[in-house]
């Protein structure tokens, strides 16, 4: 590695890691939006991945390459518990249940002593390397791109555009939606473990309502035409507060406004197709 790159990565390591991790989170929102569902559970899944991986590291001292895959277990179990019943119903149920999940987990982290309470868990070794984060991000983008061009991707697009028509074509709605939610839980769990092991501390408020909505703003800013869109959205929204001084106070206001504007005014936004159909 050339020396200047080494220096740069060392100086901006936190920011570089945040770019990769937020990219993974944006993808975890993308897979669910790609089947026309809305899950606000990404931050909660990330928190489950973070807390479970930190406990595995601190209490059992497992190597990080074993911790990383195990960090997906808890998010996947919660995704199953919530996804199986709600994905048979209309989309509002998944959205409600996932927002509720985030709120309840925050309360649990705050109140359970061995999860650190309000102080969180600290002294986490910095075992997440840039190559792991960006390697996973690259693999995820390629995998989602390949899936998008396969029969599965066409089925997902059909579901997004018209559920009834897709069902008539013999597409098993619930299975695709659940698959997307589980993929989303895996990506968010990995992002949580990587994030926890690149900062020395995790706390209950990092996985609450604000990050949940922020992840949605990544995807809506980038658009969900391709997997790259959400990642670019995540990078813009991660870099902006670093570039613009004094912006960080209003960062969340800005993220919220992006969602409002994207839904109200972006005709090529993800819901455009369905809107036109209903208007016709």
């Amino acid at each position: 590695m050339p020396e200047w790159l080494d220096d740069f990565l060392w100086t901006y390591q936190n920011l570089v890691h945040a770019l990769g991790i937020n990219g993974l989170l944006a993808l975890s929102m993308y897979v669910v939006l790609a089947v026309g569902q809305l899950s606000l559970g990404q931050a909660a899944f990330m928190g489950l991945g973070a807390y479970s991986s930190v406990l595995l590291t601190l209490k059992l001292d497992l190597p990080f390459l074993a911790v990383l895959p195990l960090s997906c277990v808890a998010p996947v179990l919660f995704a199953l518990a919530i996804g199986v019943p709600t994905l048979r119903l209309s989309g509002v149920y998944l959205a409600i249940a996932t927002i509720g999940l985030g709120e309840v987990l925050r309360a649990v982290y705050l109140n359970v002593d061995w999860l650190g309470g309000a102080l969180g868990l600290s002294g986490i070794p910095g075992r997440a390397e840039s190559w792991m984060i960006f390697g996973l991000l690259g693999v995820a983008i390629l995998a989602l791109w390949a899936v998008g061009r396969s029969a599965i991707g066409r089925a997902m697009a059909a579901i997004r555009e018209d559920e009834t028509a897709a069902q008539v074509m013999g597409i098993n709605l619930a299975r695709y939606r659940l698959g997307a939610l589980l993929a989303s839980a895996v990506l968010a769990g990995l992002a949580g473990a990587l994030g926890a092991h690149s900062s020395s501390f995790i706390g209950p408020n990092e996985y609450g309502f604000e990050p949940a909505v922020t992840i949605l703003s990544f995807a809506l800013l980038g658009g969900i035409g391709t997997p790259l869109g959400p990642v670019v959205g995540a990078w813009i929204l991660t870099l902006l507060p670093e570039v613009l001084r004094g912006f960080s106070d209003l960062r969340l206001v800005f993220n919220g406004v992006i969602i409002v504007l994207a839904v109200l005014f972006l005709p090529e936004g993800l819901l455009a197709l369905r809107m036109r159909r209903h208007a016709a």
Binding site: G36, Q37, L38, L40, A81, I82, V84, P85, T86, R88, L89, S90, G91, V92, Y93, A95, I96, A97, I99, G100, L101, E103, V104, A107, V108, L110, N111, V112, F209, E210, V213, T214, L216, S217, L220, D249, L250, R251, L252, V253, F254, N255, G256, V257, I258, I259, V260, A262, V263, L264, L271, R274, M275, H278, A279
Partner: protein, 293 residues
């Protein structure tokens, strides 16, 4: 001990029911999961704080004024965020998303302006006398909350069932297009529904603020979890279900706090939500005739 817990639970549940009523009303009539709803709750509490602390009003004057303030905010947000989507007949997830973005912007703007600290209502706002009857203790603020909740719920039931506006609202819940063809001004009715729901949320904010005496911008957000549990358990859009589920949730929370662990009351509430989704997704009192999402 148990009887005392039950009383406390019902008193807490009354304010949960009150809070969830407006949320479920909005869904029933406008078919939107309006997540800005939690913000009306915070707005009502803050309005009451300013009215009592800075304007020196008593609680009986501050409560309706705060409720109306929250109601007006609700109308403005509905006009700004949801009316355009209604005109386009956007899918329900679009309206859910827009309110999600809106509420994040509102909470964080409110936190930036007002600060994140917890405020308290001026002391002595409600006489703190504690009544004792057969060993059961009820404090005056709790009685106030119970009476206010009953009055507001009664007013809502009367409005929906015995007025022309209520008839229009029920017609719109049944079928907005047909209601429009019958000469109902659906835009105006939607605004009025938002106003009523906002008033209920704002009043809930004042009453919960009185009960726990802790007012901060995000208080509505933590309340939304209760709102979700109540409307799912009671059935989305079901007013009667929300009333029963709200009271039951209050009792369950108090019993969990009393006999298990107060740190687990949210977890128990959420477990009930998930259990209902698995077994009876249309709510415990679900009636198939009700139009659902």
């Amino acid at each position: 001990m148990l009887a005392q817990q039950l009383i406390n639970g019902v008193l807490l549940g009354a304010s949960y029911a009150l809070f969830a009523l407006g949320f479920t009303l909005m869904f029933g009539v406008l078919r939107v999961i309006n997540l800005t709803y939690g913000f009306y709750f915070s707005a009502g509490a803050f309005a009451a704080l300013f009215l009592t602390r800075d304007a020196g009003l008593g609680i009986w004057a501050a409560l309706p004024l705060a409720a109306v303030t929250a109601g007006l905010i609700a109308v403005a947000l509905d006009w700004l965020l949801l009316a355009p989507l209604r005109r386009k007949r956007a899918p329900e997830l679009a309206s859910l998303m827009v309110t999600l973005g809106g509420v994040l912007a509102l909470y964080s703007a409110a936190t930036a302006i007002l600060g994140p600290d917890i405020r308290r209502l001026p002391p002595g706002l409600v006489d703190g006398t504690v009544f004792e009857l057969a060993g059961l203790r009820v404090a005056t603020p709790q009685l106030f909350i119970l009476v206010a909740s009953f009055v507001l719920v009664g007013a809502l039931v009367w409005l929906l069932n015995f007025t022309r506006l209520g008839l229009a609202i029920r017609a719109m819940a049944e079928n907005p297009d047909a209601a429009g063809l019958m000469g109902i001004d659906t835009g105006r009715t939607a605004a009025l529904v938002s106003f009523v729901a906002g008033c209920l949320a704002g009043a809930g904010g004042v009453l919960i603020g009185l009960n726990f005496n802790a007012i901060h911008p995000y208080m509505g957000e933590s309340m939304m979890l209760r709102g979700f549990v109540v409307v799912i358990v009671g059935g989305l859009g079901d007013i009667r279900g929300a009333l029963i589920a709200g009271l039951a949730l209050g009792v369950v929370e108090v019993l969990t706090a009393g006999y298990v662990d107060s740190g687990l009351k949210e977890a128990v509430a959420f477990a009930i939500l998930v259990a209902v989704l698995w077994t009876r997704p249309s709510g415990l009192f679900g009636r198939p005739a009700l139009r659902r999402a």
